[in-house]
C-alpha cells in the first residue's frame, strides 16, 4: 500500500491546492501517469504518480489546500494484496468532509464514512452517497425493474420507522393507562350491502369502483350523527365534543408502521368523494406526504385488518380521541335471515369507547345505527 502525497513542486512551495483528479478509485496507474492537477502559487501543475498499481482511495477532494507531504490518495502497488488500512492511518490521513445529516444517516446504517466518496462540493459526503454506499454494501441488488415513472418514494429510512414505532408505543401505553376502555361488538349481515355494492360496481367504470371499506366508513360517519358523544376528544379534564366528523383511518404502511390520518368531514362526502379521498389519503400516507392537519384532526378512528385479518379486532383508542371502531374480516357464515338459515357475508364490528365519556347503552345505540345504515346501502 503506497501513499500518493502532495508533491513539493518548487523550493519555496509549502502547500498546494488539489484542482482535480484524473484517476478514480479502481483505476490502474502506471509509474509516470498523470493522476491529478495541483495549483501552486506559481502555476497549475499536472502531477504524475511514481508507483504502478490500482488507485485504492482518494483522500482529498478538489479545491482543498493541503501542506506538502499530505497523503492525497492510496495506491495498491502491483503484486501486493490489499491489506486492510489500519483505521488510524486512514482517518488521520484526511479530515472526512460530510454533512451532519449524512453523518447521522451513516451512523444509523452502519456505513463507514471513510469508505464513502463524497459527491458534494470539496468532495463533501451527502446523504445520497451514504445511501448508495449502504445499498452497495447490502444484499446483491435485485434485477433493476425498468421504472419509466419517477422513482417511487424512497423506503422510509430505518431511523424514521424506529421513531414512528416509538411514537405509536408511547401513545398506546398512555391510552391504556389513562382511558378506561370498554368494548362492545356486533355481527352485521352484509348480504344486502354486498349485493348492492356488486350491482353498483358493475355499472361503474373501473376507476370509480367502490370498496366495501368505503361503505363501512360512511356508515360510521352517519352513525356518529345519531350518537355524537363518541365524536369528541378528551382535553385536560373534560370531553370536548366536535361538531365536525373527521374519521381517522388506520393505514398500514408497506414494510410495517401505522398511521391514522383524518378523512375530513367524512359524513358530508358522497360515496364517490369518500372513495376518492380515501384512495388519495392511502397513497399519500404511504408516500410520507401527509399534511399536519390530517395527523391532528381525527375525532374518532376506524380500523380494519383487511382481507387477511382476523374475524374481529379489539382496538386501542388513539388519545385524545374517545372511541375507535374495528371491523374484522368479511366472512361467509350460516346466518338466520327472515327465518331461514342462509350463508351470509358477515362482518364483526367492535367498538372501544372511553367510559369517562359514554356508557354501554349509548355505545350499543351507535353500533345498531351503523348496522342499520349498512343494511340500507342506498342511504349511504
Amino acid at each position: 500500500m503506497a501513499e500518493f502525497v502532495m508533491p513539493a513542486l518548487g523550493a519555496d512551495m509549502s502547500a498546494g491546492t488539489l484542482l482535480g483528479w484524473r484517476k478514480r478509485p479502481g483505476d490502474t496507474v502506471a509509474r509516470g501517469d498523470i493522476i491529478a492537477d495541483v495549483h501552486t502559487d506559481k502555476a497549475d501543475v499536472e502531477v504524475e504518480v511514481f508507483t504502478s498499481g490500482v488507485v485504492e482511495k482518494l483522500l482529498v477532494g478538489p479545491g482543498e489546500k493541503v501542506p506538502v507531504g499530505t497523503p492525497l490518495a492510496v495506491i495498491l502497488e502491483d503484486g501486493k494484496a490489499a491489506p486492510v488500512l489500519p483505521p488510524s492511518v486512514a482517518v488521520e490521513a484526511a479530515h472526512i468532509l460530510a454533512s451532519p445529516s449524512a453523518k447521522a444517516l451513516a451512523a444509523e446504517l452502519g456505513v463507514d464514512l471513510a469508505s464513502v466518496r463524497g459527491s458534494g462540493p470539496k468532495g463533501r459526503i451527502q446523504r445520497r452517497d451514504v445511501e448508495q454506499a449502504a445499498k452497495a454494501a447490502g444484499p446483491p441488488p435485485a434485477p433493476p425493474a425498468p421504472a419509466p415513472r419517477p422513482a417511487p418514494a424512497p423506503v422510509e429510512p430505518e431511523g424514521a420507522e424506529a421513531a414512528m414505532r416509538r411514537a405509536i408505543a408511547a401513545a398506546m401505553a398512555r391510552s391504556k393507562r389513562e382511558i378506561p376502555h370498554f368494548y362492545l361488538s356486533e355481527t352485521i349481515d352484509l348480504s344486502r350491502t354486498m349485493g348492492w355494492l356488486a350491482q353498483e360496481n358493475l355499472a361503474r367504470p373501473v376507476q370509480d369502483r367502490l370498496l366495501h371499506g368505503v361503505l363501512l366508513l360512511k356508515a360510521v360517519a352517519l352513525g356518529l350523527r345519531e350518537v355524537p358523544e363518541l365524536n369528541a376528544t378528551w382535553q385536560g379534564e373534560e370531553v370536548v365534543p366536535s361538531d365536525a366528523i373527521h374519521l381517522g383511518v388506520a393505514i398500514f404502511l408497506r414494510g410495517g408502521g401505522l398511521v391514522a390520518p383524518a378523512l375530513h368531514d367524512a359524513d358530508g362526502q358522497t360515496l364517490n368523494e369518500l372513495m376518492r379521498s380515501f384512495r388519495d389519503l392511502v397513497s399519500r400516507a404511504r408516500a410520507g406526504r401527509l399534511r399536519s392537519s390530517e395527523m391532528t384532526d381525527p375525532t374518532i378512528t376506524v380500523t380494519s385488518l383487511g382481507e387477511r385479518g382476523t374475524e374481529s379486532v379489539s382496538p386501542i383508542i388513539f388519545p385524545p380521541q374517545v372511541a375507535i371502531i374495528g371491523f374484522g374480516r368479511l366472512v361467509e357464515r350460516p346466518w338466520v335471515s327472515e327465518g331461514q338459515i342462509l350463508p351470509c357475508p358477515l362482518v364483526t364490528a367492535t367498538l372501544a369507547a372511553d367510559h369517562r365519556v359514554t356508557d354501554g347503552h349509548r355505545a350499543a345505540a351507535f353500533l345498531t345505527a351503523v348496522s342499520r345504515l349498512l343494511q340500507e346501502p342506498e342511504g349511504l
Binding site: A145, V155, A198, N201, L202, V206, R209, R254, E307
Partner: protein, 88 residues
C-alpha cells in the same frame, strides 16, 4: 403482445404498487396478493392500472381468476389474444 411482454408489464405495475417488494422472488402460481401483502386498496389500484394501460376492465366477478401471476397473465392473454371472445 406476447405473454412475456404481458408478464413484464404486470411485474412493472406490481413494482409500482409495492416498491419495496422483491419481484424476482414471486412464486408464479401462489396468490401474489398474499406474497406482496397487497390489501384491497392496493389490488384496486392495480386493477385500475391494468385498465388504464392495457384497456382491460377486470370485473369483480373475475377477481378469483386472476389471483396468481400465471392465471393473471393467462387471463389477460385470453382477453387480448382473442378479442370478442368474452372471458368466462
Amino acid at each position: 403482445m406476447t405473454t412475456d411482454e404481458i408478464r413484464d408489464t404486470v411485474l412493472r405495475m406490481l413494482g409500482e404498487i409495492a416498491p419495496e417488494a422483491d419481484l424476482g422472488e414471486i412464486e408464479p402460481d401462489v396468490d401474489f396478493r398474499e406474497q406482496l401483502d397487497l390489501d384491497s386498496m392496493d389490488f384496486l389500484n392495480f386493477v385500475i392500472a391494468v385498465d388504464e394501460e392495457l384497456g382491460i376492465g377486470i370485473p369483480e366477478s373475475d377477481y378469483p381468476r386472476v389471483a396468481t401471476l400465471e392465471s393473471f397473465v393467462a387471463y389477460l392473454a385470453e382477453r387480448m389474444g382473442a378479442p370478442g371472445v368474452e372471458a368466462g
